[in-house]
């Protein structure tokens, strides 16, 4: 590979912090969910890049990427379920206005 692994890690870091900033600054619950997906995907890129560069032949890093896919799918399904059921109680998606679940 002619592109150094550090370049992939740099892209991964930038995307991760973009998603992180999105989770912190956005108020819309669905957008927050999208930003979490961006962060998971950035982690996937780092895993695959390191697995390609330093891994042995048996692709361990890629196996973890497959598990991250499973977690991401489950997270989106349950997260949207929570958002929709909270929305049904009170039609807001602004996370600042959703107080019911506070203890």
């Amino acid at each position: 590979m002619t592109v150094p692994v550090g370049a992939y890690i740099a892209v991964s870091a930038v995307l991760f912090f973009t998603g992180c900033a999105g989770v912190l600054i956005r108020r819309n619950a669905v957008v927050i969910l999208m930003c979490v997906e961006l962060m998971l995907n950035a982690a996937n890129l780092a895993l695959v890049a390191f697995s390609r560069k330093y891994g042995s032949i048996d692709e361990r890093g890629s196996v973890f990427v497959v598990f991250v896919f499973v977690i991401a799918a489950a997270e989106v399904a349950v997260g949207l379920g929570i958002i929709l059921s909270a929305y049904r109680n009170r039609p807001v998606v602004n996370v600042d206005e959703i107080h019911q679940m506070k203890g």
Partner: protein, 175 residues
Amino acid sequence: MTFDFVEPVVFALLSIGVIAGGAAVVLLNRITAAALLMAFTFLCMAGMFVLLGAETIAAFQVLIYVGAITVLILYGVMFTKFSDGPRALLFKRQTPIAAVIVAAVAIPVALLSFSFTSAPPRPGGGDLPALATSVFTDFAFPFEVASVLLLAAMVGAIVLTRRDDPEEAAMRRRR
């Protein structure tokens, strides 16, 4: 003539796509456009996986992220109402521009794809055998745990989004 310059150029284009797409998801106020740009980001990421030689992961990326997760998020956008006004007709005014862009992309792609003869598959089948061997030997237990997790998430999503039947709720209250 060597093609060493191709990989850095493709990498640069894909990283610009990934970073710009991610920034747009965070910064845009139109939720529908943000969701579609998230799909674009995931597509560029799949291209990066191909560049890294992980074709199977790229295929999973397209199937799960670009396919399933984007559709789920778009349904979430549809079912909730946002304060940024009726912007649902996102593509209404741009129809001629869209037609020109689609023609400019689709016609060369179609010509190229019909003029290529497909390359023979690589011996050994890419990265799939190593991945599958790892999943079903060393990681067999986490694999089973992941399938139980998916089942639990499925049941949980159904329970969370199920609308309470008023008759059923009344019967429960009577009891």
